[in-house]
Amino acid sequence: MKRWMLAVGMLALVLGAGLGMARTTKVVVAGWGGESEIAMYQELLKKFNAAHPQIKAEFMHIPAKDYWTKITAMFAAGKAPDLFFTNNINFPALAAKGVARPLEPFIKKDDYDTGIFYQGILDAFRFEGKLYALPRDISNMVLYYNRDLLREAGLPDPDPDWTWDDFLRYAKALTKEEGGKRTQWGVSFYTYFLFWEPWVWSNGGRWYSPDHSKFLLNSPASVEGLQFYVDLRWKHHVAPTPAEAADRSAYSLFLGGKTGMIVDGRWRVPSLKKKAKFDWDIVPFPRGKAGSIVDIDGSGWAISRQSRNPDAAWEVLKFLAGPEGSLTFTRGGLIIPAIGFDPMNPDATSAILKAFFQPPPPRHQQYFLTVNKTAIPTETFERWSEALNLISKALGPVWEGKEDVQTALDKVAPAVQKILDEVQAERAKRK
């Protein structure tokens, strides 16, 4: 009698345990960010988990500067996260390696509308025709100016449609000399590629041909644009030379009122709001021969091919990239949302826009959004960072005034072209 009771009891226990064991699918989302962003992720995922009891989404924070080291280690061990944050710069290399899943099947299954995102940034996450990530934020460049210094030099606010000639005029007026030494400059000078691309593009130049088969940075239009930028420093002396900057960063010179203008991204806004002791505002990048073209780069999440729960991951992705996620991240004040105003979705998207427009300064925040119309993504491809290393190295003497742009780029052109040729061969193999 007792023995079969025991057996039934044990069976019941096992069954009960089996049923009671929550059948939740775990989804790991990896991303970078500061502690405020970590808090945003946790808040969002908590909401998501509450609304989706069968899914347990978890955020894995990875420090920004070492993000790729850790991600590659995880992939190498076969323990990749289900969703991972990526920017469009590193994205082609990932897509080419087949590390992320194309999103088309998911989009079709759900009839998902990608129209709420700016098309430019969606394109940035397409590779060989397929979409691999949904974007969260975009970053671009505008020109910040110190209104106090401008007034001092008798200049009005720059016209949003201003040209390079206007810009040079402003820069010269803002450069001051005292006792043979310059004490103030028109514009700060950055050597990082993100800050000199606009000069190349706005002059009609390009780094590469659209299919990445030819190196074009040493072509006449590109060189002319870049040389104009370098001349700001060494010909017109409206930007500080390394000696004059004396190891102070470009931004700290602007913040300290030593330069009148700086081309930079939206991430400077919180710092300027807190620390700038002058009136400042923004204006679009000046118009070159081909217009005013800055970058539209951004970040978003992709589903890893190694993920064992891609459908659950897709649900999480939709939520994070969707209006609710975008609203949370936008409220933090550091990003420009990748979601534009969508007439099909007016309430949600206008809420995001409202969250984006924080109290001035700057007064003309709309420029952060309007420049997206003509902006293009950085011309990345599978081995872009390798080529960038070579190019940056070659440009070193140019920034120091020891070489002109054409000579420096001609010197590095063969090495870069070799990389491009190898990439073309790889692509042909994949077909």
Partner: protein, 276 residues
Amino acid sequence: MSKQRQRIADAVIFVVLLLGGLTMLVPFLWMITTSFKEPGSLFDLPIQLWPEKLHWENYRRVLTAVPFARWYFNSLVLALGLTFLNLTSGALAGYAFARFSWKGKDAMFLLSLITLMIPAHVLIIPLFVIMSRLGWIDTYYALILPGLFDAFAIFLMRQNFISLPRELEEAALIDGATPWQIYWRIALPLAAPALATLGTFTFLGGWNAFLWPLIATNSIEMRPLTVGLAVFNTQFTTEWTVLMAGLSLATIPPIIVFLAAQKYFIRGLTLGSLKG
């Protein structure tokens, strides 16, 4: 040399050394004063060695906005764990190489030195894969256990044990003691200074470790200070003042260890070096 000239020479030497020492102080002070600067200040030139006002909120932020105490604890566990491993397994192996002889001993010793010469960058991903298979990622095991074998520790302790006078050990051997007993009762206590020295170096290494803990931990709670504080390096900017507050607080245990162990240091390494 007359006493007077000797004293002048001594004074000059002292001043020169003191000046040298003070230059060592400068970046340390810069780090600390930056932690008191207004939040949002850039870690930039020109160097401002003294902030206008003492901003304590950097410390408040680093202590409350992130699990700082937990990170501190993790760093201590990591550093002390590695130290413990070196002082036990490293000393044992060092004694073996010093007092035993077997076929292939020299080859083994040479092989172990190889581990000091391969850069860590190419080893961490394979090690990560191994740890993944063991399921130890994000645990203290993954952080500490790779320190089980340390060629540096074995090298140092071997030097030390070789130079210990053998008479005591021989006497014990005659009395019928086993090598194991001789090790624990005689050799190890005599090696206390060397152990203190090794312990200090190991503690510092563990306390400053970054690359492996970065790869081996997933959750924020398991990170040591070095990795945890990296959260203030966002993709947009670095929050220098808060970061320096955290780093300044992090210098306390190593400095304590330095000061405390200094009295052992001096007598420690010598016993090893005389009889290389």
